[in-house]
């Protein structure tokens, strides 16, 4: 099975503005043609970037999407060969749609009226 697995750090119906203050995540399997094959929400026991990193590595996540990601976690994930698309501001669905179509980039602002 090809494609990739992504984790979007979320807060309510938005991409979490702080990776280190996140206790929820949306995990998606995205096929090569951009179809979202599966999606599941994960709730962590606490807001912990360490737990999130452990989860990412333990579950074969290829891409992490979040708002602010502090440099130490950013570098840690990058060294672990995980793509990090950070500084994303917006609601979950537009972010997922862009991610699935391969158009999501760090720094994207996706709130209505602000899409780049």
């Amino acid at each position: 099975m090809t494609g990739h697995r992504a984790l979007i750090a979320i807060r309510g119906n938005e991409v979490a503005w702080r990776f280190d203050r996140t206790a929820e995540a949306l995990v998606c399997d995205i096929a090569e043609d951009g179809t979202v094959r599966s999606r599941s929400e994960i709730i962590f026991a606490r807001q912990s970037p360490e737990d999130l990193c452990d989860y990412v590595l333990a579950h074969g996540i290829d891409t992490v999407v979040a708002g602010a990601v502090e440099e130490e976690y950013y570098h840690y994930l990058r060294y672990k060969r995980v793509d990090v698309i950070d500084n994303v501001a917006g609601e979950i669905e537009p972010a997922l749609a862009r991610l699935a179509s391969g158009r999501l980039a760090s720094g994207d602002i996706l709130f209505p009226g602000k899409e780049g």
Binding site: R11, E14, W17, R18, D20, R21, P49, E50, C53, D54, G67, A68, V69, E70, E71, E72, Y73, Y74, H75, Y76, Y79, D86, N87, A89, G107, I109, F111, G113, K114
Partner: protein, 423 residues
């Protein structure tokens, strides 16, 4: 124009408010009633990394990104006005910046809140070395070598346990950092982390300091609470295991066996929940052979032992560490240093780093401080970093290696010419 006339201009809204906010010596943000950004002054634009165009209309939580945004938002608590708190932001450059945040409401003439404002004061957070602190957590462990991979995989397992940990490694290999990391990634993270150096006190005072002492009125001795009691629920880190006298080791072994300590002068054991973390620069097996480690105590420590590799065995990690520290010191010294010249890289790749990562960091700090160009050259390195002669001998023009010669990294040499070109 009189002072009253000028006051009228403010009242009439004829003052350049954005200009006024830009002149403030702290960050300022103005939000509408929905918490969407109306204005960011220049200083806050620099601090957050958002331009005004990018930020305008965004929910404030996506721009300021403080640790309190969300459920603890100061604007949502008690009306949100007139509050001050210390928190941090993470800017678009991925830097965490401690700040003091003051929230204020701007009412209209009828007293209804028209705007909300945040004033953001950057706080300087420095460690003893002057570097920005917060260098704990796994991200502070930089590297992708097999040895570091092993450590990064092992640490979560260590963090989950309550057993004592023994970290063995040369000076500068990161024992303190890893001990802190084990604590911070454990369920004890919100409880105290105490660092206890055993080398300075006589054994009897040490035991009172650690385990506490009951008041002894006749002898005029006051009660001492003890470090174990202070660290209850958390962890105590002993940075040099070999400093622990044998008598203390036996008591520590008894604590690891029973989970209780007996303060000096008391008879009843007191149960205390504390995790013990130890480190040593010396070979613990040799210490045990020489009788400097109590066998029972050493048995407890052997279960969770982590040997930290010296930097010379982590060649793969060197470029990452150099780039990481160069970036941090360039930011700290506000210098336009982007990296290392190939010659400087060759010199640094050859150096054995007896002081390990700590020494590497000091070398980079010196190099960034003395660099006059965007690339650090051998001349910027401290004089004690030896330079192999190959790179020193300048290759005369037109007499370089043959085009098909094997590509071997050049070895830099610090020579007067190098100094001239580098600074």
């Amino acid at each position: 124009m009189t002072a009253t006339d000028k006051a009228d201009l403010i009242a009439a809204g004829m003052v350049d408010l954005p200009g006024l906010l830009d002149a403030l010596p702290m960050g300022a943000a103005v939000y509408d009633g929905d918490g969407k950004v109306v204005h960011l002054n220049l200083l806050l634009q620099r601090l957050t990394g958002f331009t005004l165009d990018e930020a305008r209309g965004l929910p404030c939580r996506h721009v300021l990104r403080t640790a309190t945004c969300g459920r603890d938002c100061p604007h949502l608590r008690q009306g949100g006005c007139e509050q001050s708190l210390i928190t941090d932001i993470v800017n678009r450059g991925r830097r965490r910046i401690p700040v003091r945040l003051h929230t204020r409401c701007v009412p209209d003439r009828d007293g209804n809140t028209l705007y909300r404002m945040d004033f953001v004061e950057e706080l300087v957070e420095q460690g003893a070395d002057g570097m920005a602190t917060r260098k704990s957590g796994k991200g502070a462990l930089i590297g992708k070598s097999a040895a570091m991979e092993h450590i990064l995989v092992t640490l979560p397992e260590f963090a989950r346990s309550d057993r004592p940990v023994l970290l063995v490694g040369e000076t500068g290999t990161g024992k303190d950092l890893i001990a802190e990391c084990v604590h911070e990634t454990s369920l004890r993270a919100k409880r105290p982390f105490l660092r206890m150096n055993l080398g300075f006190m006589p054994a009897d005072l040490l035991e009172a300091e650690l385990f506490g002492r009951a008041a002894q009125e006749g002898a005029g001795l006051e009660e001492i609470r003890g470090r174990f009691a202070e660290a209850a629920g958390g962890s105590i880190f002993f940075p040099e295991l070999s400093d622990a006298p044998l008598s203390l080791q036996k008591k520590l072994a008894a604590f690891l066996e029973t989970g209780a300590v007996v303060p000096l002068g008391a008879t009843t054991p007191q149960p205390i929940d504390v995790r013990l973390l130890f480190a040593t620069q010396r070979n613990p097996d040799e210490l045990a052979d020489k009788g400097l480690l109590d066998p029972g105590f050493y048995n407890h420590l052997s279960a969770m032992r982590l040997d930290l590799p010296p930097l010379r065995e982590r060649g793969e990690d060197l470029p990452f560490l150099l780039a990481y520290f160069a970036e941090r010191f360039a930011e700290r010294f506000k210098k336009n240093v982007r990296g290392f010249s190939p010659e400087a890289m060759s010199v640094l790749a050859e150096y054995p780093y007896p002081g390990n990562v700590r020494e590497l960091r000091n070398i980079v700090e010196y190099a960034v401080m003395t660099a006059k160009s965007p690339l650090i050259v051998p001349a910027n390195l401290p004089v004690y970093v030896p330079v192999a002669p190959a790179a020193a001998a300048a290759v005369p023009p037109g007499r370089g290696p043959a085009p098909d010669a094997p590509k071997k990294p050049a070895r830099g040499k610090k020579d007067p010419a190098g100094k001239g070109s580098g600074s």
